[in-house]
């Protein structure tokens, strides 16, 4: 079996194991074993990938395999990875692993919870390994629907509303996507669903591209929290249980950026060039608006959710800049945002689990009460505002560098505008950190709270390590990515 097929297969096997397990211990065992295996697989994949590239392998996609699935529509089960996907797989594996530990304290109906969680990861992994439009889309939708139940059943707050809103908006997005995919397939002569092959054909007429590009881009953009379509994200994140927020903000939103890059722009390059300005404007709005919105929130999760809107907006922004540097930055930003946002949500979940409130007005002085979590929170915050040495800096610098390389005024102006988000980010991060971690602890109840347990520590440490690792040694990641990005960019510009 192809190593890539193992990625969606492992969670499936985990689901089977969960189905059969009888006790909480068994469930935990299955989850730990499975998610560790996934991380191991991801690491092996990275090593192999780098090895192959080092050996001079130049094909855009490696580890490819293709099995005919639905012959009449040329649907194949086709897998393959390039640098971007490898990075994403690694990210996903890490998040799934840490998410498992973040859900360690979960008590209600954990069997079903982990079942849906695994289904979610099936979708995520499947999406990143597929190179067939149909399979990709299928995995994309597989990832969406468990969200509904995870948020609706295990969430908190206005969970029903949030779950429904999230599901419907994302399904709306996928509806646009589906028609776009059909448009691409039939526009390219209805002979293949393989992304590489369609790109190679390069035969979709511009008039059709003009129709399908916005649809596909918006379709993925909804998931990537593109400005007018982002409203599901704060509600969804706020209501979701911790691990789901992590997975969602950390990985699922990346599906949007990845899809925009890999499908919308790669397969519909001419329209992408022609229409990119609209979306650049939207993403700029997204970036700035998200940051400003985060400033006025009082709920920790909402703050982080809006921050995600801002950062994911940055991903799309970078993608639309269409040069290698910005593209690389986009992927780095995906990685970085995935990790730090997951860390954020994990920590918020842990704090919430103790204090039962996420309102920053009711929190304060937590640094003394739970130093470990507080330190973690500070690190996440610093990464978020782009402190050098942590992953955020690497990503954002690359993006703005790349974006500014455009000679024309329009691109430069929007880049400058987007840059302001860094400052605003600093404002809201520091405000929160100052309010809840330092200062005095007004609530006597909070003083009795305990610090992180071992499972929480494990997940936080993993994520912090990853963030720091990326910040300190960004080159191997960006090297891995750059080749693939430049390949795609070259195709778009050709």
């Amino acid at each position: 079996m192809n190593i890539l097929s193992l990625f969606p297969a492992v969670p499936l096997v985990m689901m089977l194991g969960l189905w059969l397990s009888k006790s909480t211990r068994q469930i935990h065992a299955v989850m730990v074993a499975g998610s560790s295996l996934l991380v191991a697989l991801a690491v092996v994949l990275v090593v192999q990938y780098l090895g192959l590239r080092g050996a001079g392998e130049t094909a855009p996609m490696l580890f490819t395999a293709s099995h005919v699935w639905y012959a009449p529509l040329n649907i194949h089960y086709a897998v393959g990875v390039d640098g971007i996907s490898v990075a994403m797989l690694l990210l996903s594996a890490v998040i799934v692993f840490t998410g498992t530990f973040a859900s360690w304290q979960m008590t209600t109906d954990i069997k079903a919870y982990f079942l849906w969680f695994c289904l979610l990861s099936v979708g995520v992994f499947g999406f990143f390994v597929s190179v067939d439009l149909f399979t990709m889309f299928m995995f994309y939708e597989v990832a969406l629907i468990p969200m509904y139940l995870l948020i609706g059943v295990w969430g908190s707050g206005r969970k029903e509303y949030a779950a429904m809103k999230l599901t419907l908006m994302l399904m709306g997005g996928s509806a646009l996507l589906l028609i776009g995919i059909l448009g691409i397939y039939f526009g390219a002569g209805a002979t293949t669903m393989n992304i590489q092959e369609i790109a190679a054909l390069h035969n979709i007429p511009l008039s059709l591209q003009r129709i399908w590009f916005p649809l596909v881009f918006v379709g993925f953009g909804v998931l990537g929290a593109l400005f007018p379509f982002h409203t599901w994200s704060p509600d969804g994140h706020a209501s979701a249980p911790t691990a789901v927020s992590m997975l969602h903000a950390g990985v699922l939103m990346k599906l949007g950026g990845y899809g925009c890059f890999r499908i919308a722009m790669y397969l519909l390059p001419d329209a992408a060039q022609e229409l990119s300005w609209i979306f650049i404007v939207l993403t700029t709005v997204s970036v700035v608006y998200g940051a400003f919105a985060a400033c006025v929130q009082t709920d920790l999760k909402y703050i982080n959710a809006y921050s995600s809107v801002s950062h994911c907006g940055l991903v799309l922004f970078a993608v639309l800049m269409m040069n290698t540097a910005a593209g690389t930055g986009a992927v780095l930003q995906m990685l970085s945002h995935g990790l730090m946002t997951a860390l954020f949500f994990a920590l918020i979940g842990m704090i919430y689990g103790r204090t039962h409130t996420r309102d920053i007005r009711q929190l304060g002085g937590l640094m003394k009460v739970m130093p470990f979590l507080a330190v973690g929170y500070v690190i996440a915050g610093l990464a978020n505002l782009g402190l050098p040495g942590l992953s955020g800096f690497v990503a954002e610098m690359t993006i703005f560098n790349g974006a500014f390389m455009h000679p024309d005024t329009f691109h430069r102006v929007v880049t400058v505008i987007a840059c302001t988000s860094i400052v605003i980010t600093a404002v809201y991060i520091l405000r929160v950190v100052g309010k809840i971690l330092y200062g005095t602890c007004d609530n006597p109840e909070h003083l009795k709270l305990s610090d992180a347990t071992w499972d929480e520590r494990l997940s936080v440490i993993c994520l912090v390590a990853a963030i720091a690792g990326m910040g300190l040694a960004p080159l191997w990641v960006s090297d891995m990515i750059r080749g693939s990005v430049s390949e795609i960019i070259a195709h778009i510009l050709s």
Binding site: W69, Y70, A71, P72, L73, I75, A112, F134, M138, F139, E141, V142, L144, I145, Y148, L149, G152, V153, K159, E160, A163, M164, T167, L168, M171, G172, A175, L176, L178, I179, L182, G183, Y185, F186, A190, I211
Partner: protein
């Protein structure tokens, strides 16, 4: 006349007739003990029927083109027989009740005769046989709808069904009469050659279409649907929503392709409007429903709209997609109705949406089955519904109906909303007095297992689709 060709080309009909007669005789001679084994007998025979229908065979026609056989017909007949089988399994609990036990035989006979009618409708190569098949399919259905004799709703539903069925067949016949008047033949093949798209024929097409539209319950011909679905016994509702609808949809496609090929532009326009209306209106109405049977009625109307997406292109791809869609829809819808029906039997007739609050806690297996089926209906992967929806969209898209596909897609979102309402009721909404935990009887469990297998496997295992695709034909 060559008798062997009757037995080879009409084998589905011949076996079904034999089964019908056997069941009939069994009903006449069986005593009280024999009655108890009735469902086993019928289901066993239906398995034989499925096998007989699916046996491969060559193309051909009988009685001078009156009856046609195409391997695709065999597949559709097999699919319908599977549907009938599952319905019979699900009806068992209900049929064992005190007030229906003595009517078991009638139920099975009526089901089988409607099935026979559908077979003839599918195999028809002439409007006369088509009409006879249609009526044979719809008249016993009315009896089935009104089967719960002492329930007022059932009788009401039956009356509405039969009146609407009569009305629609009247309209359809009126259409056919003008087709006959303008072409002078009733044979599909001859008629196709003689149609020229004159205004009279367009009118005839509209009438004909409205007749079939009633059977498929497309908006604006859907008025009977909700009431009949609500009033009919649940097993019958599921039969109505799946088997008869599927048959009618397939026939619509074949007739449009075979007979109305010269008027393709006209009927595509017609279908376009009707499809948009069906999907949209039904979805909007479904949101308001609180009775799950009515709810499923509107859901089935919108599903009918999706089926029409496969018809509109008139292509071979469309036909494959249609049959596949019907098969998948059958699995999912029958699963939903299976759960509905068993809950109704165990709770003394509870079918309201709020009755299902907290159902997921007390009966997790049934709730899970229902959830998966609803996801399949909504078109969520990896369940089969996703694949079938994708294929009908692809079929319509291939025909160039981009706007239509777009509208349909937007509607899938709405439909997801209301399907999720049920999921929400089952898993999320708290309830102090949920449906008590119970264990479904064997027949229901078998039927649900079949449906679940369908929901989970039909999409992933592409062999089914490929098998259907081998035999499809189009314009």
């Amino acid at each position: 006349m060559d008798y062997t060709s009757i037995f080879t080309l009409m084998r589905a009909e011949v076996t079904l007739t034999a089964i019908l007669v056997l069941v009939f005789l069994y009903d006449l001679v069986a005593g009280e003990r024999g009655r108890r084994r009735f469902s086993a007998v019928v289901c066993g025979l239906l398995v034989v029927q499925v096998a007989a229908s699916l046996l491969p065979g060559g193309e051909g026609e009988l009685f001078g083109g009156m009856f046609q056989y195409h391997p695709m017909h065999g597949i559709v007949k097999g699919v319908l027989a599977v549907g009938a089988l599952v319905v019979c399994l699900q009806a068992d609990t209900w049929l064992r009740r005190e007030d229906t036990r003595h009517k078991q035989g009638e139920f099975y006979i009526l089901i089988l005769s409607t099935l026979l009618g559908m077979y003839f409708m599918i195999g028809a190569g002439n409007f006369l046989l088509f009409f006879i098949g249609l009526e044979l399919a719809s008249v016993p259905t009315a009896c089935l709808v009104a089967f719960d004799k002492y329930k007022r709703y059932s009788a009401e539903a039956g009356a509405k069904y039969i009146l609407c069925a009569l009305f629609s067949s009247g309209l359809m016949l009126y259409g056919i009469s003008f087709l006959y008047g303008t072409t002078g033949t009733l044979y599909f093949g001859d008629m196709a050659a003689l149609l020229d798209g004159s205004p009279l024929q367009v009118m005839a097409l509209v009438f004909f279409f409205s007749g079939l539209g009633f059977k498929i319950s497309l908006v604006p011909f859907h008025l009977w649907t909700a009431d009949s679905y609500q009033g009919a016994p649940t097993a019958v509702t599921s039969y109505l929503s799946v088997v008869s609808k599927g048959a009618a949809a397939f026939v619509l496609l074949t007739v449009l392709v075979k007979v109305f090929a010269p008027m393709v532009r006209e009927w595509q326009t017609l279908l376009w409007i009707v499809t948009v209306l069906s999907i949209t209106v039904a979805n909007l109405f479904a949101i308001r429903q609180r009775d799950l049977k009515r709810f499923m009625a509107f859901s089935s109307i919108s599903q009918a709209g999706y089926i029409m997406l496969a018809v509109i292109g008139g292509s071979a791809l469309g036909m494959t997609s249609l049959v596949f869609y019907v098969l998948v829809y059958m699995a999912a819808n029958l699963a939903v109705f299976g759960v509905l029906s068993v809950v109704e039997q165990h709770t003394g007739g509870k079918v309201g949406l709020e009755d299902y609050n907290g159902f997921g806690k007390t009966n997790p297996r049934l709730a899970l089955g229902m959830t998966l089926a609803l996801f399949s209906l909504a078109g969520i992967p990896p369940f089969a519904g996703f694949f079938s929806k994708f294929f009908v969209f692809a079929a319509a898209f291939e025909g160039g109906f981009h706007g239509l596909v777009f509208i349909a897609l937007v509607n899938t979102v709405i439909s997801l909303y209301y399907y999720l309402l049920i999921v929400k009721a089952m898993y999320i909404t708290p309830n102090d007095t949920p449906v008590a935990a119970f264990r479904a009887d064997r027949c229901t469990r078998i039927s649900l297992a079949i449906c679940m297998a369908g929901v989970l496997l039909l999409g992933v295992v592409s062999a089914v689709y490929d098998g259907i695709n081998l035999f499809s034909f189009g314009l």
